[in-house]
C-alpha cells in the first residue's frame, strides 16, 4: 500500500514539475479502420483546419442523435469552417460489425474509426459516450464536452467558428 502511494506521488510530482503545455496533443494510439487496418490516431489530418472527434456507439441513443443532427448540417459546417468530423465507435465485438452498415445507411459523411477495446478512450479519459473533442489547426485538443442534449451542436459550432476565424 505504501509503495502504491509512493508511485502515485512520484507520477504526480513528475507531472506537475514538467506541466507547462497549454493544449493537449493527440496520443500515439492505434485504432482500427472500417477495413480492418491499424491506424495511429495522431495521423488524422485536416490541412490545418479544425477537427472534431466524437466518441459514439451503435447502442447509444444520445450519440446517434448527436451525429444524426450534425449530419444534417455537416455540409454547411464544412463550407463555412472547413471542419472535419471523426467519429470513433467504441462498439466491441458484439456490435462492431454493425458500425459500417449503420453509418452507410445513415448517410454519414464522417471519417470513422473503431476503438473496440477502449485503448483510445483510456488515453483521452473517455469514460462514457458521447464525448466530443474539438481540435485546433495544430491538432491540439482545445475543448471537450461530455454527453449530448438536443441543441448541443450549436455550442460546438460556435467553438468551431471561433477557431476558424
Amino acid at each position: 500500500m505504501r509503495n502504491q502511494i509512493l508511485i502515485f506521488l512520484a507520477v504526480l510530482l513528475t507531472a506537475t514539475s514538467s506541466f507547462s503545455q497549454e493544449n493537449r496533443s493527440l496520443p500515439n494510439v492505434k485504432v482500427k479502420t472500417l477495413t480492418g487496418d491499424a491506424f495511429n490516431i495522431s495521423e488524422i489530418d485536416n490541412d490545418s483546419k479544425p477537427m472534431v472527434i466524437s466518441f459514439w456507439a451503435t447502442w447509444c441513443k444520445p450519440c446517434k442523435k448527436e451525429l444524426n443532427n450534425i449530419s444534417e448540417i455537416y455540409s454547411d459546417w464544412q463550407e463555412e469552417t472547413g471542419v472535419k468530423l471523426i467519429a470513433v465507435s467504441i462498439d466491441d465485438t458484439r456490435s462492431m460489425s454493425k458500425v459500417a452498415p449503420y453509418i452507410n445507411s445513415s448517410d454519414w459523411e464522417y471519417e470513422v474509426y473503431l476503438d473496440p477495446n477502449k485503448d483510445l478512450c483510456r488515453s483521452l479519459g473517455v469514460s462514457t459516450v458521447p464525448h466530443t473533442f474539438l481540435l485546433n489547426g495544430k491538432k491540439e485538443i482545445v475543448w471537450q464536452h461530455r454527453g449530448y442534449v438536443e441543441g448541443d451542436e450549436e455550442e460546438l459550432y460556435n467553438k468551431i467558428i471561433e477557431l476558424a476565424k
Binding site: 512520484a10 507520477v11 513528475t14 441513443k61 460489425s97 477495446n117 442534449v149 441543441g151 450549436e154 455550442e155
Partner: protein
C-alpha cells in the same frame, strides 16, 4: 514493482535534461449512493449509510514514453458491485515506450486478440469488470501490413492476481499490403495462441498444467461487402473434481457478413460455442478470471423495457444467429418525409446445441451437431423494429415494436420459470421548444403472461443545452399477479454539464434485475436512495 518505481524516479530528470516538457492528463469518476430500507421492493439499508466507488486515472506522456496509474477507491463498494472490491489501492500502473514500430509495455495492460474468442482483457467499470493483465507486452509492426503482439502476465482479480500465468502471441497480415496488390478485394489473415500455466497438485486426477487455446481468423472485403470469420479451439481443461470431471476440449466459431451502401446496410451473423469457458485459474467460478469474451449474438437495446429480459451468452454451449437491416427512406418523397425516415430491423435466435455441449457427455469423443437451429431448446429470440422520423424542425418521433422469448431458467440458472414471452411497444417523442430547450417523453409498455407480468414506463425529460437536464421516470409493474408487488419505481434525476465536467444527482428506487453492457450482465439488487455521480477529465 521496483522497476516501475525506478523508472518513475528517473522521469523528472528527463524533464530537466530536455527542454520539451511532457503532458499530463487524466480523468476522474465518483459514484456515491445512500441506501435506505424499503420493504416493499426488498431494498436493504447499508450499515455504512453511504457507499462509494471512485477512480482517478493519471497519464504522463513525453515523446514516445508514457506512464499511467489508476487509483481506485471502494469505501465500501456500491451494493451492485462485488464486495471483493474493498478498500483503496493502485491496481493499475504501467510504463510504455514506443520505438520504430516496437511498443513495449511493463505493468498493467488491456489486450484483445481477434474478436476475443480466446483473449480479451478489458474493463467495463459499470459492471465491475476489470481483468487487466499484469506483466510484459510487446507490439511490433516490422513492415507495413504485418502486426505482431506477444505478452506474458497474470490476470487481475479485484485487488489480487491470478495464480495461473498467461502467455500469448498474435499475428495479423494484410495480404494486399505485403504482396503490394492493388485489387479492389482485400484480405487479412490472423492467428493467435494463448496458454495458461498453473500447477496441478490434484492427487486423483491428471490435470494439464499448460492449457492452450488456438484461434485463426480471416477478413475479406470487397466493395460494400465485408466477411469476417474466426475459429477457436481450447484443449481439455478439467477442474479436477468428481462433479466437474470435464475432459472435453472446447471450440467456438463466429462469422459475420455485412453489406452496405448509401441508404442501406445488412448484417448477418452466426456463432456456435461449445465448452469455451477459458480462465486464468482452472478453479475460478462466476465471472472471475475469464480470459476470453464471447458476446451475446443479439441486439444491445437502449430502451428500458426492451432490455428488461436481456440475453447473456451461454459459453458452455449454444448456437445462434442474428440478422440486421438498416434502411433510410430518402428525404423529399412522400414516404420518407421531408427529412427521411430510418428503419432498423433486427432478428436474433439462440438455442441449445444439438446433442448437448461436449462437457456434459461422458464420451470424450462426443461432438454435438455443428449447426442445428430448429427443434432445440430455445434460449432467446428477439424480433424488433425501430422507426425514427423527423416530422419537422421541432418534432422527432421514434417507435419500437419487439417480440421476445427469454429462457429464464437457462439465462439466470433457475428452475421453474420456463420461457417468458413478451411483447413490447415504445414511443419516444422529442419536441424542441426554443433554442437550446427541448422536451422529450418516452412511453413504454411490456406485456407478458409470465414472470412479473405487465410493465409500463413513462419518462419525461427537459434539457437546456448546453448545461442542464432534468428527468422523471416511473416504472410500474401493474400486471404483477401478486397484488403486493404491483409497485411504482420512481426516479428523479438532474444533471449539470460544463465542458469536461459532469455532475448528476438522482433519487429513487431501483428495481432488482439484470443490468448488461455488451452482452455481459450483472445482477443488481433493488435499492432506494440518493445517488451522486461526478465525472471529469483533463
Amino acid at each position: 514493482m521496483k522497476k516501475i518505481i525506478a523508472i518513475l524516479f528517473v522521469l523528472p530528470f528527463f524533464g530537466l535534461a530536455q527542454n520539451s516538457s511532457g503532458e499530463i492528463h487524466g480523468d476522474f469518476n465518483l459514484n456515491l449512493q445512500t441506501y435506505n430500507e424499503d420493504k416493499s421492493i426488498g431494498a436493504l439499508a447499508a450499515d455504512e449509510v453511504l457507499l462509494n466507488n471512485a477512480y482517478f486515472n493519471l497519464l504522463y506522456t513525453k515523446d514516445r514514453f508514457t506512464v499511467g496509474v489508476r487509483y481506485e477507491s471502494y469505501l465500501n463498494a456500491l451494493k451492485d458491485f462485488d464486495p471483493r472490491y474493498n478498500g483503496n489501492g493502485i491496481p493499475y500502473r504501467f510504463a510504455q515506450y514506443n520505438n520504430d514500430g516496437l511498443e513495449i509495455t511493463a505493468g498493467s495492460f488491456y489486450e484483445q486478440f481477434g474478436s476475443g474468442l480466446i483473449l480479451r482483457s478489458y474493463e467495463e467499470k459499470t459492471l465491475g469488470i476489470d481483468n487487466a493483465m499484469d506483466g510484459i507486452r510487446l507490439r511490433y509492426s516490422p513492415i507495413s501490413g504485418v502486426y505482431l503482439k506477444t505478452f506474458i502476465g497474470r490476470e487481475r482479480n479485484f485487488f489480487e492476481y491470478s495464480n495461473g500465468i498467461v502467455r500469448g502471441v498474435d499475428g495479423e497480415v494484410n495480404i494486399n499490403d505485403i504482396l503490394k496488390l492493388t485489387t479492389k478485394t482485400k484480405a487479412l489473415l490472423g492467428g493467435s495462441v494463448v496458454s495458461r500455466f498453473q500447477n496441478a497438485t490434484n492427487p486423483n486426477f491428471n490435470l494439464p498444467e499448460n492449457v492452450a487455446a488456438f484461434a485463426g481468423r480471416i477478413n475479406v472485403l470487397s466493395g460494400g461487402l465485408n466477411w469476417y470469420s474466426e475459429y477457436a479451439y481450447k484443449i481439455n481443461d478439467p477442474i479436477g473434481s468428481l462433479i466437474e470431471n470435464n475432459y472435453a476440449s472446447g471450440n467456438a466459431i463466429t462469422s459475420n457478413l455485412t453489406y452496405s451502401q448509401k441508404g442501406i446496410g445488412v448484417s448477418l451473423e452466426l456463432h456456435r460455442v461449445d465448452n469455451m469457458v477459458f480462465r486464468a485459474d482452472r478453479a475460478a467460478v462466476g465471472k472471475d478470471l475469464l480470459l476470453n469474451y464471447i458476446p451475446a449474438i443479439s441486439k444491445q437495446h437502449a430502451y428500458t423495457l426492451v432490455s428488461l429480459y436481456p440475453y447473456a451468452t451461454q459459453p458452455n454451449g449454444e448456437a445462434g444467429f442474428q440478422i440486421d437491416l438498416f434502411y433510410k427512406l430518402g428525404k423529399g418523397n412522400g414516404i420518407g418525409g421531408k427529412y427521411g425516415t430510418k428503419i432498423d430491423v433486427n432478428f436474433s435466435r439462440i438455442n441449445a446445441l444439438n446433442g448437448g455441449p461436449s462437457y456434459l457427455s461422458d464420451d470424450i469423443n462426443h461432438e454435438p451437431m455443428l449447426i442445428s437451429l430448429k427443434g432445440e431448446e430455445l434460449y432467446y429470440q428477439d424480433f424488433n423494429v425501430e422507426i425514427t422520423r423527423k416530422i419537422n424542425r421541432k418534432v422527432t418521433i421514434a417507435a419500437v415494436l419487439a417480440k421476445q422469448s427469454y429462457n429464464k431458467d437457462v439465462v439466470q440458472q433457475q428452475t421453474g420459470y420456463g420461457i417468458i414471452e413478451s411483447n413490447i411497444a415504445i414511443l419516444d417523442l422529442t419536441y424542441k421548444i426554443k433554442k437550446g430547450h427541448a422536451f422529450r417523453v418516452e412511453l413504454q409498455e411490456l406485456k407478458t403472461e409470465q414472470d412479473d407480468g405487465d410493465w409500463s414506463m413513462g419518462l419525461a425529460e427537459y434539457t437546456i443545452s448546453p448545461h442542464w437536464f432534468f428527468t422523471i421516470q416511473d416504472m410500474y409493474n401493474w400486471g404483477n399477479k401478486n397484488v403486493e408487488k404491483q409497485l411504482h419505481y420512481i426516479n428523479l434525476t438532474a444533471g449539470f454539464i460544463k465542458g469536461a465536467n459532469r455532475f448528476e444527482i438522482g433519487y429513487g428506487k431501483k428495481r432488482e434485475g439484470i443490468f448488461c453492457v455488451g452482452g455481459v450482465c450483472k445482477t443488481v439488487p433493488s435499492s432506494n436512495g440518493i445517488t451522486l455521480s461526478i465525472s471529469s477529465s483533463f
